[in-house]
Symmetry: C2
Subunit: 252 residues, 2 copies
DNA sequence: GTTGACTTTGCCGTTGCGTCAAGGTCCAGC
DNA sequence: GCTGGACCTTGACGCAACGGCAAAGTCAAC
């Protein structure tokens, strides 16, 4: 008993285009293909399609479904992961909704919502760093940032741009070291970190401990972590190791 | 004071690719373009970008943002709509999570989750129709469906497929009438509806009132409505009008 | 033999960019 | 004047899961 593509589509409540797609991505191949090129499906394919649609309705991606059906991945395992994703997504939406609500209120009150400073990438990153460090090491670190604020009071936007540019160049140099297999505690690496330290010192006065703390932050803080992971999954750790070595060997 | 694309990108914390994209879709054009083709941005563009990113962080689509910034659409209005969407999406995810949880339980209990009948598009649709009608007219209609179940007891899968195929052909014919401007109460339209009535009567015994109720259902039930709306936004209403006219004129 | 329903492959469109690729431009140092 | 490196341009593909359309071949019934 073989069914044509449209017949199967009707039985399952999907379109024939969908079945062709599933064939194309290797998720569900027909039982056989006629000499005319027509796809023909039989009972086992219907059962498999049933499984596919069941998992699809739960929101799993076709890729995950394929993994589950080939047995590469456990169903319960995949579903648990999906459930976690669903929860995270729900929370994200909840936060968004809250922010939207607040924004609406502000708009209605006529508050102009300047906050233009917050849209300077540089100062925003500094604020985030302050929060992250304060969360890890207590409010004591905030005085460091207050001092940094004093020091950069006269900076123009151009100064910030230059500082940011230098930071990116440093990232590129460290990435080079990593890619070339240079160990993070070698003098070559530490020389690059020396430039990093000099750059940081322009708007902050880290001592041995707090500079090493910054290195650790690169690894632990989700914001920094994501930024470095985007370039190389090993970059954050490399940065931390190099900074730690630098603090140990060249600071006191 | 003009800034290059990368400078603006750094200030705003986005990539230059993003700014080029915004230029391409007309969301944010540079202040001017040099003879070398370079994009240059000035203060007003930065302010606009700030607005864009603010709304983007709230989850609005770039299209909506563009409408808001051109003044075609009110901010508060757009945000309210977005908020509703967020709520609906959250609820959808919550339902999904609940279903996933139940599925995990079933899997762990070893329940095999056959429910193969539920994957027959036809019987599923019938179940949905029963629920929808029961919700509207009370449980009294369920006996109609029980009788239909009796009548289709001996049907093979092929019979269901044929019935479904006929249903789709009828939809196509009605759509033709609609597109050609044939009014729903004309004899020509009623003749098509007569075939519809014959087809329905094979697994159901509608009287004048309940057949008209089915027509109304096409318009009111979200499932049916979506199915017809996909073909033409006026199809559901046309169906209802034609069925109502048929019930009035040719049934008693 | 002619419809009409059905099938095939192939390609564009959706959202918001990331990521090359190929090539032109700018500026500083020699 | 030349070179190198950082910067800029346009163009095109890729993603997820198909929808929709076009051109062309196939099948079955009348």
């Amino acid at each position: 008993m073989a069914w044509s593509i449209t017949e199967v589509a009707r039985m399952a409540g999907v379109t024939s285009r969908t079945l062709r797609h599933y064939d194309a991505i290797g998720l569900l191949a027909p039982a056989y293909v006629g000499i005319n090129g027509y796809r023909y499906y039989e009972q086992p394919q219907l059962l498999r399609l049933q499984q596919v649609l069941l998992l699809r309705e739960l929101g799993l991606s076709l890729e995950t479904i394929a993994e589950v059906l080939t047995g590469q991945r456990d169903r319960v395992d995949a579903l648990r992961g999906h459930q976690e994703w669903l929860r995270a997504e729900q929370q994200r939406l909840a936060r968004l909704a809250a922010t939207v609500a607040r924004t609406i209120e502000h708009l209605q009150e006529g508050t102009v919502m300047t906050a233009s400073e917050m849209f300077d990438g540089f100062s925003r990153r500094r604020a985030e760093t302050e929060e992250a460090l304060a969360a890890r090491y207590g409010d004591g670190v905030r005085e460091h940032f207050a001092a940094a604020g004093e020091r950069t009071k006269g900076w123009t936007r151009q100064d910030y741009l230059d500082a940011q540019k230098e930071g990116e160049r440093l990232d590129a140099r460290v990435l080079q070291l990593l890619r070339c297999g240079v160990a993070p505690e070698t003098p070559e690496a530490l020389d690059v970190i020396a430039d990093h330290h000099r750059a940081v010192a322009r708007h902050w006065s880290p001592d041995k401990v707090s500079y090493a703390g910054l290195g650790q932050l690169y690894l632990d803080d989700p914001q920094y972590r994501a930024r470095y992971d985007a370039q190389d999954p090993a970059l954050a750790r490399y940065y931390r190791d190099a900074i730690t070595a630098y603090a140990e060997q060249r600071l006191n």
